[in-house]
């Protein structure tokens, strides 16, 4: 399987995504410069984390105008998988490939820490290898990660099973304390209506080896691989 990893000016988890996909999971991976528009040959597109365009103006607001984003939109319309991690999630929201926005964390500070994600929907292409309710230990690293959308959107996401992950405790309870940024309903990741576009704030590419503290992130790549 071949993953295309998009690189915007200011992206930094491109290298970690490449490492976890290629070195750990043994898949093909290529970097796609944001001005390139040719995604042919790719089975999945990854929008990695970082500070595209320095997060200036608003996170993801400039990157969404990069030439590659039209191709990403076309790619997703064909029902093929697109995953946005952290800044990639923010870009997907700005590009309206996912609903809602990521606001500043409620405590107005950057947070880098382990979080425990409860898998809410294990029927997406990204979570098919998870057990229902499985807790994944995956870290966050962001300043703007508080998922927000108006009530009708939240209700729709909840009613149609489009919340992929929620922040919880290590045992999977959803509590206020386990919410690291004030996201509505502890939302850590969502999918689009078709279920082929995932946005998530936590960094699965960092949970790729025991020596780094967790291998739970690999399950997302493995789910995608299994689906191809």
């Amino acid at each position: 399987m071949k993953f295309g990893i998009v690189v915007f000016p200011g992206t930094w988890s491109d290298r970690d995504c490449y490492y976890s996909i290629h070195n750990i999971c043994g898949q093909d991976a290529v970097y796609i410069w944001h001005k390139d528009t040719d995604l042919s040959g790719c089975d999945c597109i990854v929008l990695p984390g970082g500070f595209s365009y320095g997060d200036y103006l608003r996170t993801g607001a400039i990157a969404r105008f990069s030439p590659v984003m039209d191709s990403v939109a076309d790619f997703s319309k064909k029902g093929r998988p697109v995953i946005g991690i952290c800044n990639g999630f923010q870009v997907l929201c700005e590009a309206h490939l996912l609903p809602g926005v990521l606001r500043q964390n409620d405590h107005l500070q950057y947070r880098c820490q382990w979080t425990y994600l409860k898998t809410v929907n294990n029927t997406t292409p990204f979570t098919s290898k998870c057990k229902k309710g499985q807790v994944l230990k995956i870290p966050i690293s962001h300043y703007e990660g508080r998922y927000y959308a108006d009530e009708s959107v939240i209700n729709e996401l909840e009613d149609t099973g489009r919340v992929a992950f929620r922040y919880g405790t290590p045992s999977g309870e959803i509590t206020g304390e386990a919410n690291p940024n004030g996201a509505l309903n502890n939302i850590a990741g969502i999918v689009n209506k078709q279920g082929n576009v995932l946005g998530m704030m936590p960094h699965p590419e960092r949970s790729c080896e025991d020596i780094l503290g967790s291998t739970d992130g690999n399950i997302i790549w493995e789910s995608l691989i299994a689906g191809i």
Binding site: D16, N23, G54, D55, Y56, R111, C112, R206, C208, I211
Partner: protein, 728 residues
Amino acid sequence: MPASKEQLEEIALSRREYNLIVKLLGREPTYVELGLFGSLWSEHCGYKHSKALLKMFPSMGKHVLVKPGEENAGVIDIGDGQVIGFKMESHNHPSYIEPYQGAATGVGGIVRDIFTMGLRPIALMNSLRFGPLSEPHNRYLMSGVVGGIAGYGNCLGIADVGGEIYFDDCYSGNPLVNAFCLGIGKAGCIVKACSYGEGNLVMLVGADTGRDGMHGASGLASRTFEEVRELRSAVQVGNPFMEKLLIEACLELAKTDWIVGMQDCGAAGLTSATVEAADKGGSGMDIEVQKVPRREKGMTPYEVMLSESQERMVIIVKKGCEGKVKALFDRWELHSDIIGRVTSDGMFTIRDNGQVVAHAPVNILNAPPVYRFRPKKPDWLEGLQELDLSKIKDVAPKDAGSTLLKLLAAPNICSKHKVYRQYDHQVGDNTVVLPGSDAAVLRIQETSKAISMVTDGNGRYCYVNPFIGGVIAVAEAARNTACSGARPMAITNCLNFGNPDKNDPYYQLRECIKGMTYACKKLKIPVISGNVSLYNETRGVAIFPTPVVGMVGLIKDVNRHCSSGFKKEGDAVLLLGGPGGDASIGSGEYLELVHGKVSGSQRIDIASEKNLHDCLIKAAGKGLLRSAHDCSDGGLTVTLAESCILGDIGFKGEVKTGGRIDAALFGEAQSRAVVSLDPQSVRRLEELAYRCRVPVTRLGVVHGSRFALKGLIDLPLGELDRAWRNGL
């Protein structure tokens, strides 16, 4: 016309230095030349007060590839064709005036020092000192500094893996912000900050030049804090996004054969970048200031040459390659402009629209005077080093528990997670031991190796006894390194002291350097880079002399690394190292916190220290240890408690109290570490310790959820945890 008193004051040159310049040039310098001299002969760039002392440091070692002063950072060989380079630098004065931008640009500057050499920056650390947080202004400074480090560093995608923070009254008007950066690359890939080859081109890359940071080197870093309050315009403003683009573009460029050298614009901006590169390559340079892209109108040649606008690089491009270099930077959406060319006349020439405004020999510009003094020992030091124990009330057994809780909650000991959780410490997929342990550990991808890194420096020890304090700064950093299972490889340092024109600060500087040198030689650890920050004083009161050591060690097998927290119920807990005498409470955290005293010299035997490191490294290498934690601030009991808190598991045991209880529990005797291990391995460790000549004491066992020292303390772990976690 000779320069006026006001002119000389603006650039912090003395009349004597001015006269020397006139003598060397054989004429009065032009206005622009005077600005060049002011910056290059400043303490910050020229090290004129410290150079003679810094020569004491040992810098030799089989694995040392780049020594101090040769390039932007020192470089060592870690085997398998890989090299690492690292350096630490201060940004104290700017951070006092404008904490967010001051700290942010401190990070930016040290990162540039690393990637300038063609090394990819993979880790940052910060060593910070503030006044007590009970004062609102200190809280403002700290939150600004931490915000600046986070705001800039996180944007770059470099893991910020550790450091330390200490608080003391003496830092209230003089906070310290020391930033460390480490980069990795392939052997033979190092780009030099060098200019040669007549006709080669001088390119300026990155941000446009503005008036920000004027006189940063001569004005800010070479004056006391008292004088700098109104110098806000001397602080630069950072653009981390631009820096990130520069990192990627310059690392790409470093792989080509299109350039002969690369140098970042740091202190004294374009001036030091160009003159230093020309001096190193033995060339001359001819610069046209009109070619320098600006963000402000009406800038004079003087301002262009001395601006410290951030995120700019000078690149010496081989003639004919300029088109390829420009195309590379264009792709990263970065400006690149040819601003001059390399000459062979050894002269530094600056033109403004063709007209020569400066024309001075490079080797005179870059050769500031070196000052040597013979300071005498301050009278007050003798009294400070003595401690009359009979006047200090010992801890009653019933108060041992409450004293422990008090120490755990003390700002100098408690958890700093509220700070480091704001830094991205995992990006890069390398961080094996996260912040909060004795040393951070990063694995080296695609090898079985890991490196550990730590910063350390106890100003209080150095204040009471500058020589011993200097020894301990190195020894403790090495102990932390050994506790992670790593063999110390090399150090960098940041020497933060007061005004060197005065006897006492100069004496402290000299003694600390002597102490550090002694320890480095005995422990066989070379110094490969460093930085000096002098004039750290306000209203005539200097900070504690604060040398900060940044140490890097190597672990052969990453799976054999060690961290501070206890791991497993039933593990045996041992103390490696001898018992501390009653005097070990001297200049310690307990003595200041409980008795309000800062006095009494610490002691250290460097041979015992070395033995301990050997024992720890061997034990970790054999896989005997489950945890190791060095005994430092707050002594043995705090060390045990921290290992419990970090491991989220209790301890049950005993500490022998022959003499004073406070000394046994909270004394900061050196050369000791607490380890935990499988009970089956205890005999093997004891044998190893015997061979290494390290005393061993069995302290107890990892057990349950209470912290129990027989007859003295019995507290639930949760209570210790709360005190420690909520201290800040």
